[in-house]
Amino acid sequence: MKYYSYFPGCSLEATAVAYGLSTKAISGPLEMELIELEDWNCCGSTPYSSTEDLEAICIAARNLALAEKTGLDLVTPCSSCYCTLSRANSQLREYPELRDKVREILAAAGLEYKGQVRVRHLAEVLFNDIGLEFIKSKVVNPLSGLKVAPYYGCQLVRPTGFDDPENPQSLDLLIATLGAEATPFPLKSRCCGGSLIIPEMDLALGLIHQLLESATTNGAQCVATVCPLCQTNLDAYQGIVNSKFKTRYDLPVLFFTQLLGLALGIAPKELGFDKNIISAERVLAPFTTAARSVRET
């Protein structure tokens, strides 16, 4: 069993419930103990840091200080939290003046930031710590023939990611491990628009449109994402893209943990498939029945 301090982040509590559910569900079979960070707060988030950088970094630093006390690596499935927390971590290391200021503020709350905690993304932990070979050994319901577009988005691979920012491979390999086929996806680390979807919707819709087009033309039956923001933008706004660009996309956008769970033989309802807006039922039918029977036997 491997132990981690777990930072779900706001999205997994509210909108990306499926991501939270499926992450919890796979942790047991993959022998990871995800211990939720006690009294965690918002990571500081991207829009916030655009207007109040000091406040935002303090908010992040509070989580880091809490995590340091556990002595475990801090793991989050949310790319945005991963980016914000690890960026705060590196900036606090690089800029002593900023660090002193933040330390002072944290001290008022009885906390201390030493700069010793490692912030990690769930995908990276699965790839590096758990390992594809171990995952493969646990696959009981291979997703044979399923064509999946591996969508990394930005913040897993940039600015401080663990995989190549231009042509990352880890998710491709993970998808192959599950028995599915990772389709070519040239825009695999292209931006989904992130939170621009709110203030600059037209701009973001343009980006989402490009992504859906690229995934579809490359033959994907569904998209696997590692980020709640990407998932929301591609899933929830697919209908609007269709009406704006006169397209007919019907592409399920799944969290990679949902596919992973399915391959591990976990029941679909434990993986939150009912929370996806574009239904994956049709595409996943051959595997959901199999999952049920695997479970029953």
């Binding site: 190549d164 231009e166 042509n167 040239p186 690229s214």
Partner: protein, 654 residues
Amino acid sequence: MEDKPRIGVYVCHCGTNISATVDIDTVTSYARSLDSVVVAKDYRFMCSDPGQDLIKQDIRELGLNRVVVASCSPLMHEATFRRVCEEAGLNRYLFQMANIREHCSWVTENGKEATEKAKALINAAVRRVFYQEALEIPEIPVNPNTLIVGGGIAGIQAALEIANSGNKVYLVEREPSIGGHMIQLDKTFPTLDCSACIMTPKMSDVGSHPDIELMSYSEVEEVSGYVGNFKVRVRKKARYVDEKKCTSCGVCQEKCPWKAPSEFDAGIGERKAIYIPFPQAVPNIPVIDTETCVYFKTGKCRACEKFCEAKAIDFEQKDQYIELEVGNIIVATGYDVFDPSPIIQYGYGRYDNVITGIEFERMCNATGPTGGNIVLKGGSAPESIAIIHCVGSRDEHYHAYCSRVCCMYALKFAHLIKEKTDAEVYQMYIDMRCFGKAYEEFYQRIAEEGVKFVRGKVSEVTDQAINEEEKGKLILVVEDTLLGSVIRVPVDIVILATAIEARSDAEQVARLFSISRSADGFFLERHPKLDPVATMTDGIQVVGCCQGPKDIPDTVAQASAGAARVLAMISKGKVELEGITAVVDEEQCSGCKTCISLCPFNAISFDEEKKVSRINEALCKGCGTCVAACPSEAITQRHFTTEQIMAELEGVLV
């Protein structure tokens, strides 16, 4: 001490470099007040002729026997003032320098503090010089033979310059033939001479020169000794072909059934397992590549041997070791071409028609694998070609420096494409750098030929078409920064103008010759402007691209400069050694031999009769290792005696 010390102190203003911060009058009168100081003077430029004369006159007229100059760094002018002392009849080791510029006025803003520091530094120098003694300066003869490492254009040029003066040169080349990168090039900018045409006469001169011993397919393994008297061990790698018997008929490579990518053709063509790298190779003797040769793997084949009428094939040949004695060494080991595969977004290795500059040179060359035709993989003619500049250069992720030749060779490529095809040519550049003689004119000529220039760094090369015209093409995405718009440029071939980088084994080579490297990985010259050929190790020169990226004219000029340095040394015939050596007090030596194993120059031997260590002064470099290590304190280093060092320390501290 023979005479009572009579010290003269000379304080330099260095224009205003020192005097703007340090109060010269205060410092000079302070110096005058110090013990044993007979005279203290100041002058605007102590290094000028009148400044030097001032010191000489005082030595003669006031009977000075010690001199201190307070001015700049000893690196700058210690040699000057030592010579001044000698011209006035004073041994050079009776001179001491106080650095009140780099160590004081340039780094101290507050005038008062600077003045105090200058006083302390002068006090230290005065106290030290009090104890300094005259030392003998040994001279040794210079071995007139020269070792040149690397047989590219730099090594060839230097070898011919030296050998033409009647002196012996050993030219060691790692590859089977000399020629280096230049012989791979098609044409040369800006005159468009055929590279092979201007180079092969020089190569053939090297091959037949009575005073050049060419050691191809050989590597330097060990270097010891010092300027004037180096000892070098060279490994002559087994060619498996007897050079004396081989008639260069070429039948062996014709009959050999096994193939590998040709190094000479930058991997775009093939050669055999036994091969002469290219037709004009010097020496024109084949070599067997044991990685590819099936006989070396399975013990079967021997086709080459069967067909060789001269019976020159020798599978039993072994590496040979040869010891050389030389007085000077020229390092001309050249450069590596940057491998663009890590720049994933440019698709090198992923797309067939993304190629490097050196690959294009071979494609363009009539003796190359396409017979000089510029074609896509598969053989069809291109409609458009783009050249991406600064690939691996001017990029903090790879090399921050400018490789200096890419702009020009990219222009040359454009001309060759225009000459041989109907293709459109795009240059994607950041800045055009056409600095050499007739280079700007060449740029204008290419612009007139209708080449398109796009100012911007390409963000990616992709095969993902977004319209019909782009289908089947490679599309470059770039901001044309002069238009202020992002543009997509569909082309058939993309040429990456790859950087020049230090050899991958530059670190080992630097260690082998005891020379340093600069931050960019190239070998470090003694001074970037005034001594760009010598290294910090006497007797070793660096020339050509191993010292930094440069074009052919600069390489040839630097190689000639290196040769001139060597010839000056040979014609002088002798070299002065440092008088600062270590000496063993035989009374104190306990014979423990600790010093012997520590000496990096093998300068210490053991006198079995007297049971004491003895230092060979010709080999001792005065590094002080044995002095510090000797448990009996029996070893003293001349010019760095305990007395002298303590006096200097006291001078700073009081």
